[in-house]
């Protein structure tokens, strides 16, 4: 196996292991952060509808 094939094997293995690691490390935190983002957006929507009502 020459240097090119060693490099490509590392790249392929890195891709598979990287994806597994990413799924394990990111998923739970991302769901929690989504809940926080939706809470903030809900507050924005409520604020926007309040200001619309006030302007009428």
């Amino acid at each position: 196996m020459n240097a090119w094939m060693t490099l490509w094997t590392i790249v392929l293995a890195g891709g598979v292991l990287g994806m597994v690691g990413l799924l394990l490390l990111v998923t739970a935190g991302a769901i929690r952060e989504l809940k926080e983002s939706l809470t903030e957006l809900s507050a924005d929507v409520a604020e926007a509808s309040d200001s619309e009502t006030a302007s009428k």
Partner: protein, 545 residues
Amino acid sequence: MDLFETNFTSLDWCIVVAYLVISIFVGIWANRYVGNIAGYLVAGRTLRIRLALATMTGTEIGLVTVMYSAELGFTQQYASLYLALYELVILLFIGLTGVVVYRLRQSKVLTIPEYYEKRYSRGVRVLGGVVMVMSGVLNMGLFLKAGALFLVSVTGFTEPEWLQQVMLDTFNYHEPVGLKLIMTALLLLVLFYTVLGGMISVVITDLIQFVILGSAMVIVSLFVVNEVGFDGFSEVVTVQNGYFDPTSTDNPSTAKPDDGIGPVTLTAQFVVLVVALMLWPTGASRTLAVKTPEIARKLYLCSTIPFLARRSLPVLWGIGAFAFFHSHPALNEQFQAAVQAGGDVNTQAAMPLFLAKIIPSGLLGLVTAGMVAAFMSTHDSYLLCWSGVITQDVVAPLLKNELTNKQRILITRVAIVATGIMLLTWGLWYEVSSNLWQYMAITGTVYLAGVFPIVIGGLYWSRSSSAGAYIALLGGLTGILGLDPCIKFLNAQFVAMGTSIAVNSNILMLMTFAFSLLGFVAGSLLWPDDRPHDSQSATAKGANP
């Protein structure tokens, strides 16, 4: 074994349909969170690092990425992994230094053309917006076709006889319409929930898609390795003349001479990837949607892993398909005959045809749902990005920004539908004769060649001027010459003139970048702006919260 034999059954269809129904439900549900244009286009800038990373992965691992990477794996085998290596190195560099992305997020703009106005002028913004949309819509012009080709190949879908009869009787149409119908159905589905929910529904569905797609990619890779075996992957090089050295211009797996990668392609692709990873609008829109500039930098650093996966895993499947077809000569003959015959089968179909035979029913449905997820997550983000540019950077500046939030959201929704119709038309009409990735790189160059000097110059060179920016944007349009019909025309002209000159898409891409860069520098030096400009100040003050 027949070429179109598949393990896809009714159970798999149920899994895919259930997934699609959930996606539609999410689109409707997310609509309640749309309060203003910032909420619609950048999710109110509420994204934190993990969520941003998951959604960026969902967007960037599109079905089209899977298809073109697998196609390269099938046609260029291991050598095609140089693109994965490039992305890894470039993203590490951006993530460690924060070059461009940090300052861009500091500028607090919603889109890149908005930065053009802040740093240069309103005219540069409008022209920049038009060029960006043109390049972007052309770029995603073949997404629908690639997605439909995957579905047709993996499911073994054949159109019913009654439909063929109806097409013949009503429209006197003899060609198969199955692929076209699937393209239309996929587009309608994406349009539906993108129009409803904007970036918020995109973020939620991207998160679901990240989990399904990521798992599907790992599972498929394990099946491919199990089917081909480590010896089989080794034999690709030792027995089947596989291509593994990208610096060589000869691809030993084909009979055609000099159809490999080589130094010119390596250089052109490096330039394209450097600029695309920094400034491709969909990636940039995610950068602009995160909470702080520091998160923008970290996002790039963390993106090295999903970007490596998005390039390398589909290449692995493509190499697996190459090994599989070569170890089944009768099947390989059928496949080559189908490709030669033209029609809907081309080298992109090799990977899905291969997966349809090795993944068991049930799991195949999950994998297909993952791939449909990949298709939709890219499509929705891209549609939202281009239509956002039409609203914010073309229509609103032309109307002197006198639009209300509701009007902006309405225009964006109309632009999404109009873009979708254009995509369908282009996808049905245009036949790509080079590989799919090359088409993407060429159409991307139309935008990338201009944006590179304009943004880098704007952020780091105080003498950058509007005149230079106009020249760079117009210079980028010459990238269109890299499309197959234009290259054939140009080379025919050279032959008619009796010269031995012959151009290819990689040379034209490099020339486009050089032309835009030189034009930008010359224009800025020859016609400086009247007002003195500090490049730092454009990043510190922002019009948007």
